[in-house]
Symmetry: C2
Subunit: 422 residues, 2 copies
């Protein structure tokens, strides 16, 4: 393959909510592309994701030093900017697809690397089909990324291991705090974490049970039952003097309404959530009278590069690198995956999935990962989770603060007329 | 001194809200006491703070191994339990003071080490006076501790440097996240931090300005002016495309009501339950229409031993050790302090303050630490803050989780009849 075509450029974009390790995937893509300069001339990154491709706002990653690209491995969030922007189907918005091809053609782009979650996998799949439907040679490879851990086929999704570690460590620390205070003060601590549909992040909070902490986990997979919940908290506080509740933002009542909805919706039409923790905490207060504290981790959890999982950082990098290798082997419409071989010691191989099997499929917590009462995680779930939070991968610090990279992000000169986003 | 009296026991208790490093002070007290076994027979810790002294629930720290005591240095929260319990004045509750003396006498306690903040300094001061008023020989030494950093005389308070580091690092990481998303999604991120009266913790969020982040800091020292605040956010978002707001829980309106007390309602008409962050975020949404995210760090911030400041851990230990040395030198009614010698490099000496000068005095941010517009911190403030977050002091990890100590907390056999708390 490498010798059968002239050098072309690659396009890389970050999509959707960013993570502590999405830049590690970018690092994997760019470093691997640089190692194949005989085939891949340069990597152009989309400024603010796919929008950068539509508006021809491309970033010349070739202008970044090897040290700057290496620093991406320890820098959280999206170094090139991300976006929440979902392409409609080809029928409904042919204009945008034609523009993509126009931009790709103008900049001699043969490979499309899209780094995102479920919605982005769908977009990537649509782009992969352009080659056929529009007669432009293009290979589209999806690089998995989502703290929600809800992509199918792959063992886990880069970003998840780090947020899981953040949640487990933070919940443990806060639980030690509550345990200290419970005699005369706070008896119940509620931590709200992300996870609209799948409860993987909240499940990670369940790991603190192994450290002697009484914990209730509220998952979106389990319809919320206030009476049973209060009874469980009451039982744990009577037994231990305190308890911790880890509630997923997607936790909902049997009628489907979330415990807390802010009313606003994002570009994908998803309800913007937040505020389940105070709702749950007040429920406990009303029913049992316990003093409570609550925290909403929000962006802190998915940006927490300072406590990233070494396993997660490694996998994020490897999947970025694997995407480039798949492209060089001629693949299209695929996503590299983590295929677990064993739990302990954790062993995995890098596999590959067809995007047709990935797009629009959400992976939820399986029933055998949830305790019968619905308020905890099983040993099988813990066996699944434990390897993913293994190892620390600290950033470098200077003057007490982590050294995170901000790239130059030099623009590639535009060649086309402007394009208006609608 | 060491040879002039027979061996006696020391009492140590943790008081008020715990911190990431209060156990490092406990470690300093116990290890230093153990190094003076010729004078100090044993350290008895109060189970759940001063309540343990009243109820004669004493913990025999002599039953803990050297390794267990050493592990306190890297364990957050209060290993012996803390409490929120303020002794009334001697006139109003002579019964409790008499009980304290009774317990101290029964257990041959000659030294009272009280590890806490402002209220606790006041309690410690009252106890220090018992020696005279009740004719029982007792030396009371206060070990400073408070994330609020509001004790006078000392340069800073153990617990603060670590929460400051947590807030600065977390705000930086979340700001990188918002910066990534701002093009199509979140433009304003609001982080709520502790500090009911003094804005030291929120001020630490201001340090991210040096990392290129547009940030607004809302302090309790500055009366909140909604119009000016919105104008400032508008200006920053127009200039940078995004901005971060760090709001102190104690931020309040000119009439004294807290922002968090405002009975705002979400889009569904549900009352919003507490939290200054959602109130501020909704203000921005209403006035400027920006999409927002908000986080409430709550206990996560003060328990975050995983990102503790090395300087803070060191000082917490040193002040615990210094308290014992002051006791051995015959001091009573004092508190060891950090006396800053220089900012950069940071140099300090351990000094001593009279509790009469510490009790009931709150140290607020001085005017020259706050920018003229009231929304930021000055270079003088940054010079003050920077040394306090210097250095990382990571706990040991096992299987991806920090190894935090849980002590045996063996009870000292009771010798007295029960005492009822009222």
């Amino acid at each position: 393959m490498a010798t059968s075509r002239s050098r072309k450029n690659a396009f890389y974009a970050q999509s959707g909510g960013v993570t502590a390790v999405i830049n590690a995937s970018a690092c994997g893509v760019i470093e691997t592309a640089r190692a194949h300069r005989d085939v891949i001339a340069n990597v152009y990154a989309g400024r603010n994701g796919i929008i950068g491709a539509l508006t021809e706002e491309l970033i010349d990653t070739g202008k970044e030093s090897a040290a700057a690209i290496r620093a991406l491995r320890t820098t959280p969030a999206g170094a090139f900017g991300s976006c929440r922007y979902k392409l409609k189907s080809l029928d409904k918005n042919r204009r945008e697809y034609e523009r993509l091809i126009e931009v790709f053609r103008a900049h001699d782009i043969a490979w499309f690397f899209y780094n995102g979650g479920g919605d982005s996998a769908d977009t990537c799949f649509k782009v992969s089909q352009l080659s056929q439907s529009m007669g432009y040679p293009l290979q589209a490879i999806h690089v998995p990324k989502t703290v929600d851990n809800d992509l199918p086929i792959t063992d886990c999704c880069p970003g998840f291991g780090s947020v899981a570690k953040y949640v487990a460590v933070s919940a443990l620390e806060a639980s030690f705090d509550v345990r200290s205070m419970a005699k005369t003060s706070t008896k119940v601590f509620v931590l709200e974490v992300m996870g609209r549909h799948a409860g993987w992040i909240a499940a990670a909070g369940g790991l603190i049970e192994d450290h002697g902490i009484p914990v209730v986990v509220l998952l979106p997979e389990v319809e919320f039952d206030e009476k049973k919940f209060i009874a469980r908290v009451d039982e744990l506080v009577k037994q231990h003097g305190f308890c911790t509740v880890v509630v997923s933002e997607g936790c909902h009542h049997p009628d489907g309404t979330f415990l807390a909805e802010q009313g606003t919706r994002d570009a994908f039409g998803h309800a913007q959530l937040g505020g389940a923790a105070p709702v749950v905490a007040n429920m406990v207060k009303q029913a049992l009278g316990h003093k409570f504290h609550w925290a909403v981790a929000d962006y802190l959890q998915r940006a927490a590069r300072h406590i990233a999982s070494k396993t997660d950082v490694k996998q994020a990098y490897e999947l970025g690198a694997a995407a480039v290798k798949l492209a060089l082997k001629g693949h299209n419409a695929v996503m590299p995956t983590i295929d677990r071989v064993s739990d302990a010691p954790y062993r995995y191989k890098i596999g590959v999935a067809r995007l047709a099997d990935v797009a629009n499929v959400e992976k939820f917590m399986p029933p055998n990962f949830i305790t019968k009462d619905g308020f905890g995680i099983t040993e099988a779930c813990k066996r699944y989770l434990r390897p993913l939070i293994q190892g620390e991968d600290y950033p470098r610090y200077k003057d007490g603060m982590p050294v995170y990279a901000t790239l130059k992000n030099v623009a590639v000169p535009k060649k086309l007329p402007a394009f208006e986003l609608r």
